[in-house]
């Protein structure tokens, strides 16, 4: 996805993003990857998996893995609220649910307004969490952190 965004940056195209909140920050993923957004339902814990791995849920009869996106990004945890949602995305034929604090809206960002993650990494580009970020969108004083879903979904190697 990172690659796609970079190419778009050169072509000055508009990108549609689903924006959501994690704590007080706003994040976004390309709308092309989002399958649906659901309210929080029962999630069954699966033993012997990483701690950010929340478990599995029932999505219309099939079993779908769910991760806690804040834990995945190393952000501080908070209680789930009425606004908590599960954003179901599909990358490389793998579907996965991501728990977010709230889904805000669908944004359209001109690719000219997207900065590379280097701009925010204040020199420390080796930071573990920057690999999850593909860019930062600047939208009239709102900053939307754009996620690199390939890295986020690529958890099979981490699962123990």
């Amino acid at each position: 996805m990172g690659k796609v965004d970079n190419k778009d940056a050169g072509a000055n195209r508009e990108i549609q993003m689903v924006a959501f909140k994690l704590n007080r920050e706003e994040y976004g993923v390309s709308i092309l990857h989002v399958q649906e957004i659901k309210r929080l339902t029962d999630i069954t814990r699966v033993p012997f998996t990483s701690d950010f791995f929340k478990g599995v849920m029932n999505l219309r009869g099939s079993v779908l893995p769910v991760i806690d996106l804040k834990k995945r990004l190393g952000l501080p945890e908070a209680e789930y609220t009425d606004d908590t949602r599960i954003v179901i995305v599909k990358v490389d034929e793998i579907s996965i649910g991501m728990i977010v604090d709230a889904v805000t809206e669908v944004l359209t960002i001109d690719s000219a307004h997207i900065d590379t993650p280097k701009a925010i990494s204040d020199g420390d580009s080796r930071s573990e969490n920057t690999k999850f970020i593909s860019g930062v969108g600047n939208l009239e004083n709102r900053l939307v952190i754009m996620l690199n879903l390939n890295e986020i979904v690529g958890i099979s190697g981490d699962a123990k």
Partner: protein, 681 residues
């Protein structure tokens, strides 16, 4: 022509026709006179020939062509289906199978068929084979023009008579198509068209429908009236391409009429007229046969569906059921009787729907069983034994996944029965048994299981021999053997590294034996057992779950988490107090009916978060087993037994130990299924 897209279809259909050839040949061997079986064989061979020629597999087309020649002679009763001929045709079918499989595997097609072709030619040319020289019913080269040879009925004759009266000449044309002509029906059609222009076609042999469906060899006959001169028709026909030769013979109608009168009253035994009209004197047996053939044709009406589509259909049904449960709850909490009533009806429909979808995935075991009659026949010949195989319950249905896996173990069991079970005819007679050994293969439903039994009336398994061999091979110790009763001793054959055949034959007894059968059956969630009596025979009984997609499971709770344990691996559930738990070398164990069983605390094993203190002192233990090993699993609560639909956890979570899959419960929650095998390690 790009034939690749048809390849899959060609392979599937070829296999089906080869299977039907095998079945029909076996039947022909029993009833050599049965013309309906012969016709079926002919049709199958013909279809294979047509398909392979279209696909460009000339070797197959060539061999089937030669087969057809022989089959045609059989059909015309110019040859009798003796053992030698049937054997040769069986060999041809084998060669064809080999070639088709080679094509399927994408290998070189070349299988040497020249020997078979020669043999077939020899048979077709009436060269003396082992037995029963061909009956010289009619000289093929010289077509006699007797009335019954042309099989003209009275209407035909009166037409001929009128034609002659108006000065037209009647002919019989024998049209021969070129060897290797692919579109025979088209050529025949062109012949008819050409003849219609100069005269009138009264009759064809075989009948026009058969010509259209290419149900004829390279030649056919046409009875034809015309006002044109003798050779005119011949000239016109020869101008059509791929017509090799045309023989014209004048018909003397007066002579025919006279003969027909004299022939009246006789039973028409028309040997040469190969019309498909069944003789009026068809006896009951033939009728019955015809009926079964009809049934076969009927059951052949089906649609091939990708199993994945069925899986997603089942998912959707499952989802429907879950939503229905939710509606039910809404109806109850809000006290809406009308809604509850509607949901009750919906409940019935969804239950039916679910069972139909399950049934769609089921296939009759006959699909596996149908290859055994042939196998038994060949093996019996090879072993010089006389064996009669009875197959029962072919219509019993099992899930597709189980069917695919059950074939090999059954082959093994049947081979064993033939090789080790049934004795040689002389030995049988000496023992006062009938010469022919009886082997039966029986399938039937029993509750939620399917039972498949392989029975023989052979020499049985001697527990003493098993005991001795088991100790000899170091499978068990002498002391262990002494403690066993006979039934347990016989079960030793299922242990690895055990083969009792004194002489290792090509058929069985190569050391990999019953243990492989057992592990395969157990992998399918089934069990196998054996009952035997010396000199009376053995019964191998396989119990299989109906499906692998839906299993019976016990739902248990650990703290707030629900897990499912497959019922097949559960021994019993017991209640114990903490005092019952002892330790042996720091491992916790319990004593169950004098047996020491290690225990696993599931909450600890799965790192279940502690959310509530257990109130009562009692502990629930689920005793599970894999083979002979047992193990107790301590859980907090037993919910109950339930049918569950197994779902995979997907790519991301593949390979997580102890969990073999997941299922969606009635309340929409996901429960994980425990893998008892890895749990015990």
């Amino acid at each position: 022509m790009d034939t690749n897209q048809y390849m899959e279809m060609f392979l599937e259909e070829s296999r089906e026709h080869l299977q039907s050839l095998n079945e029909c040949l076996l039947e022909l061997e029993q009833n050599p006179e049965d013309s309906s079986v012969l016709n079926e064989i002919f049709r199958s061979a013909h279809t294979i020939k047509g398909m392979s020629a279209t696909m460009g597999f000339t070797a197959i087309a060539e061999l089937t062509h030669e087969m057809e020649n022989v089959l045609d002679l059989l059909r015309k009763e110019q040859l009798k289906a003796d053992e030698d001929i049937v054997d040769t045709i069986f060999k041809c079918v084998d060669a064809l199978e080999q070639m088709v499989e080679n094509i399927g595997a994408g290998e070189d097609v070349s299988v040497d068929v020249s020997v078979l072709v020669k043999k077939l030619n020899a048979i077709a040319n009436g060269e003396p084979t082992a037995a029963a020289a061909p009956k010289p019913v009619a000289e093929k080269a010289e077509k006699s023009l007797e009335a019954d040879a042309l099989d003209l009925n009275e209407t035909d004759l009166s037409v001929l008579q009128k034609a002659q009266a108006s000065g037209l000449q009647a002919f019989c044309l024998v049209v021969t198509l070129a060897e290797g002509c692919l579109l025979k029906s088209a050529r025949a059609y062109m012949v008819m068209n050409a003849l219609d222009e100069i005269g009138e076609v009264i009759k064809t042999i075989p009948v026009v429908e058969d010509l259209e469906q290419e149900k004829f060899e390279h030649s056919f006959e046409v009875v034809f009236v015309t006002g044109a001169e003798d050779k005119k028709a011949e000239e016109i026909l020869l101008s059509i391409s791929e017509i090799e030769k045309v023989e014209t013979k004048a018909i003397d109608i007066n002579k025919l009429l006279g003969e027909n009168d004299s022939a009246k009253g006789q039973v028409p035994v028309d040997a040469t007229a190969a019309t498909d009209k069944p003789a009026a004197k068809t006896d009951d047996k033939k009728m019955a046969n015809a009926a079964t053939h009809d049934k076969k044709l009927k059951s052949g009406q089906s649609v091939r569906v990708d199993i994945e589509k069925l899986d997603s259909l089942m998912n959707l049904v499952g989802e429907l059921v879950i939503n229905k449960t939710r509606l039910e709850q809404i109806g109850i909490t809000h006290r809406l009787p009308e809604l509850v009533e509607t949901i009750e009806q919906m409940d019935r429909v969804t239950t039916d729907l679910q069972s139909v979808v399950m049934k769609v995935r089921m296939v009759p075991v006959g699909q596996v069983f149908n290859r055994f009659p042939r196998m038994v026949r060949d093996l019996a010949k090879e072993l010089n034994k006389e064996i009669n195989l009875t197959v029962e319950g072919e219509e019993t249905e099992l899930d597709r996944t189980v069917i695919d896996e059950i074939g090999d173990p059954l082959v093994h069991l049947i081979r064993n029965s033939l090789d080790h079970g049934v004795e040689h005819p002389e030995d049988r007679v000496a023992k006062g048994k009938p010469r022919t050994g009886e082997v039966s293969l029986i399938a039937r439903h029993e509750g939620n299981n399917v039972i498949i039994m392989v029975t023989d009336d052979g020499k049985g398994i001697n527990p003493e021999v098993i005991r001795r061999k088991a100790v000899e091979k170091g499978v068990v110790t002498q002391e262990e053997v002494n403690d066993m009763d006979d039934a347990d001793a016989v079960r030793l054959v299922f242990l690895p590294g055990f083969s009792t055949a004194d002489v290792i034959t090509d058929v069985s007894g190569r050391g990999v034996g019953m243990d492989v059968v057992r592990s395969k059956i157990e992998a399918l969630g089934g069990v196998i057992d054996v009952e035997t009596k010396v000199d009376e025979g053995s019964v191998f009984k396989i119990k299989l779950p109906l499906t692998l997609a839906i299993i019976q499971a016990l739902l248990i709770k650990v703290q707030k988490e629900t897990y499912a344990i497959p019922l097949g691996s559960i021994d019993s559930t017991i209640n114990i107090t903490p005092d019952d738990i002892k330790t042996v070398q720091n491992r916790e164990v319990i004593l169950l009916r004098g047996q020491i069983i290690p225990i696993i605390r599931l909450a600890k094993m799965l790192n279940v978060p502690q959310t509530q203190e257990k109130s009562s002192e009692d502990l629930f233990v689920v005793v599970v087993h894999i083979g002979d090993r047992k193990c107790g699993i301590i859980v907090d609560n037993l919910i109950g037994q339930q049918e569950i639909v197994i779902k995979t956890l997907g790519k991301l979570l593949a390979g997580i130990k102890v969990i073999s899959g997941a299922t969606v419960l009635g309340n929409g929650q996901v429960a994980l299924i425990l893998d008892v095998g890895t749990l015990m390690q």
